[in-house]
Amino acid sequence: MKEELFISGRDIPYIDPYLNIWHWEIPVYLFLGGLAAGIMFFAGYFTIMHKEKEMQATVKFAPMLVPFALVLGLIALFLDLKHQLYFWRLYTTIRFESPMSWGAWTLMLVTPLSFIWAASYMKDVFPKWDWKFKFLDQIIDFIIEYRKTMAWAMMILAVILGVYTGILLSAFNARPLWNTSILGVLFLVSGMSTGLAAIIWMSKSKYERKVLSRLDLIFIAVELFLIIHLFMGFLAASEVQIEAAQLFLGGEFTVIFWVFVIILGLIFPAILEILELRGFHIPIWIPSLLILIGGLVFRYVMVEAGQITRYLY
């Protein structure tokens, strides 16, 4: 037998059997961050491609969600902090070696930008909207001039935000499940896919839904490819990572992962979207809702399972 016991002769329930300090707040924040990144990326992309008229939901309506998503995500993050009164310390310094610092500052840039973008389209979405002050109208007109620059900034920041949600986990090398650089790209692609699903749900134009569904299928395919390679990487790595992968291949997270993330979250919505593109009538909220739920469950499972895996003990 080979057994390692953590004995200290005293009651230490908060540390033994494993340190589990991140609960639902972090997966919710990662999901909302990915969703916001996805929506912002495509809003910026289609603005640069001069497709604002055809892709109205992408450019105007869906970005209305982004400020809410980011603020809710930040609230979730704030709730997770254990020393909340000192949260402002995050913004007194920038530490290049800490992904969390990167993330705090990226969010600091992205959130106001998303508010400004949404504000510039307020008159389009709510025709009766009145800014009430002349100088606000002037500011909005000024912003509308610079939409193209903002679009570029949004695209770049959206990619950084999406990758950051994955790199945040993969920077913690002490947890074997997270110790893989594929998580950065995987969470980015997953965020883009959830963003597209949200836009498709809000869209009223058939042409727009068609274009976005095609894009979504590509992102889902890439995500499946990356997930397969994630597991191949784990199974070819050290013992602790093989054990980490076993949590999903026969362990306690197997059913949740394969049923709710892969089958109901990726493969089944992809089939429904293919059918929709081929002409069959599918109620549009079904694949979108499944992709969104799949994204949330995926992040929840990665955070929970990751904290169980350890290199020692």
């Binding site: 230490i12 300090i21 995050l90």
Partner: protein, 177 residues
Amino acid sequence: MRYAMAIDTKKCVGCGDCVVACQTENNVPHGYCRDWIVESVVGSYPNVEIELKSERCNHCDNSPCVRCCPTGASHIVEGGIVKVTHNECIGCGACIQSCPYDARYSHPDGYVDKCTFCDHRLEKGQNTACVDVCPTSCLHFGDIEDPNSDVSKALKNRAWKVLAPEAGTKPQLYFLT
């Protein structure tokens, strides 16, 4: 001046005095510990081997916890001791997740806490609480750059190992085997 500790696994009996002494000295809240005993058993009767280690924060040279702290609350002071500034810590838990030795814990007051090599005692010229109280004297502490210190002498003629060297953390806790 580089503080390090050597734990003689052949002499540790797993009594847990170091655990209690540390909890008392540093007011560690109930349910948490800054150091702990790990009992590793290999083989089955009659060919059983057991190894007892008293573990704590390794105060690594290349500490991932200091690198990943977003506010700089985790920092290294004189002597290589890794410490946490309580009113700069936001309690995000990044350092807890990045420590391969699970040495840190979340204090109920909100900040993150861990072994500090009792630097408040070191300032007064005393030893750390765990070293002082160990009944078998299996804990050797001191300045590893000083060839006459307790820890350097313990490391000189014995085989030793560190935990998780592949993590690249360059830990300063040496286990004499």
